[in-house]
Symmetry: C2
Subunit: 214 residues, 2 copies
C-alpha cells in the first residue's frame, strides 16, 4: 500500500496541476477581459491574478486571442443555455416574456461580468471574435416573443426589433454601469445579493408594464 502510494506520488512536486490551473487562468481572464476588453487586457495581469507563470497561458491556450475566444465561448454558452431550455413557444407571450427575463437576469446575476464582456466584444471588435449564428442569438428569442404578443394583441403595438434591444438594455445596463455607479454617495453595493434581486424585480416589472396592452 505504501508502495502504490509512493508510486502515485512519485516525482510529482507541483502544487497545482492540469485542469485546475487551466480553470484558474480562465477565471482570471474573464475578469481581465470583462474590465478591459481584448486589446487593453494584459496577459501579465491575468497571470498575476492566477499566481501561475505567464507562459502557462500560452501552453494551454496558444494565444492571448485563444484565451479570449475561450472566455467568449463559455460566456455565450452560459447565456444561451439559460434561455434555450425554456420552451417559450408553449407559453403565452406574457408568461414567456417573464420567464425569459427571469432566466436572463438570473444568469447575469450569477455572472455579472458577462454583460461587459459581450459589450466590449461588440464595441471594440464589432463581434469579429464571435460569429454567432442567428439561430443561437439570444435576441432572436426575445423578438419572437414580442412578435407573438403584438400579434395576439396582449402587447402594445411595439416594434419587436427595437423593443428587444431596449428591453435587453433595461436588464443589462445595470451591470455595465455597476463599475462607476458604485462611486455614488451612499456607496450602494450594486452586486450584493439583495440589490441583484431587487434589480431583477424592478426590471421585470418595468418591462412587463411597458409592453402590456392597457
Amino acid at each position: 500500500m505504501a508502495q502504490t502510494k509512493t508510486e502515485k506520488v512519485k516525482k510529482t512536486k507541483p502544487v497545482r496541476d492540469a485542469e485546475a490551473t487551466q480553470a484558474a487562468i480562465l477565471a482570471a481572464a474573464e475578469a481581465e477581459f470583462a474590465q478591459h476588453g481584448f486589446a487593453a487586457a494584459k496577459t501579465e495581469a491575468i497571470a498575476a491574478k492566477t499566481k501561475v507563470a505567464k507562459s502557462m497561458i500560452y501552453y494551454y491556450f496558444q494565444d492571448k486571442e485563444g484565451l479570449y475566444r475561450a472566455v467568449l465561448e463559455r460566456s455565450h454558452a452560459d447565456l444561451l443555455q439559460a434561455v434555450q431550455k425554456l420552451d417559450l413557444e408553449q407559453l403565452s407571450p406574457e408568461i414567456a416574456l417573464e420567464n425569459f427575463l427571469r432566466s436572463l437576469l438570473d444568469c447575469v446575476s450569477r455572472n455579472p461580468k458577462l454583460p461587459t464582456i459581450m459589450f466590449h466584444e461588440a464595441v471594440q471588435n464589432q463581434g469579429k471574435y464571435y460569429k454567432k449564428s442567428s439561430s443561437e442569438n439570444i435576441d432572436a428569442f426575445l423578438i419572437a416573443i414580442l412578435e407573438r404578443g403584438t400579434a395576439a394583441g396582449v402587447f402594445r403595438a411595439i416594434d419587436p426589433f427595437q423593443s428587444a434591444i431596449n428591453i435587453m438594455g433595461t436588464c443589462l445596463f445595470y451591470f455595465i454601469g455597476a463599475g462607476n455607479i458604485q462611486q455614488f454617495p451612499q456607496g450602494k453595493r450594486l452586486l450584493s445579493k439583495a440589490m441583484l434581486e431587487k434589480h431583477a424585480a424592478e426590471a421585470i416589472a418595468l418591462i412587463l408594464a411597458g409592453v402590456r396592452q392597457s
Copy 2:
C-alpha cells in the same frame, strides 16, 4: 489693401492651422476612444484619421491622457447642457420625464459615440478620469423626477434609484449595441435618421408605459 492682405498672409504656407487641426484631432480622438476606450486607443490611429502628424497631438494636448480628458469633458458637457436647461422642477412628473428622455435621446442621437465613451470610462477606468460632482450628474435629474412621480402617485411604486439606471439602459443600450447588431441579417442601419427617430419614440413609449400608474 493689397498691403494689408499681404501682411496677413505673409509667410504662412500651412494648409491647415490653429484651432482647425485641434478640432480635427478632437473629432478623430472621439471616434477612436469611443471604439477602444483609453488604454486600447492608439495615438497613431488618431493621427492617421486626421492626416496631421502624430506629434500634433502632443503639441496641443500634452498627453494621450490630456486628449482623452478633453474628449471626456466635452462629451459630458454636451449631455449635461441638454438636460440642465429643461426646468424640470416646474413640470408635472410625467411631462418632466418625457422632456428629459426626449432631450437625452436627441443629444445622443446627434452624437452616438457618447454612450460608448462614457461606458468605456465607467468599465475600464471606473470613472477615474472624470470625477463628476453629484450636482452635475445626469442620473440625479432622472432620480428626482421619479421620486416626485412616485410620491404624487402618478408613477407606480418603483425604486427611483434602480429605475433610473434601468431607464437609462433602455435609452442608451441601443447605441452601445449598434456596433455588432449591424451584423443582423437585414442589415438595418441603426444610426440612420429614420431608425434613430424610431428608437426615440419606442424607448419613450416603453418607459412611460412602464412607470405610469395604471
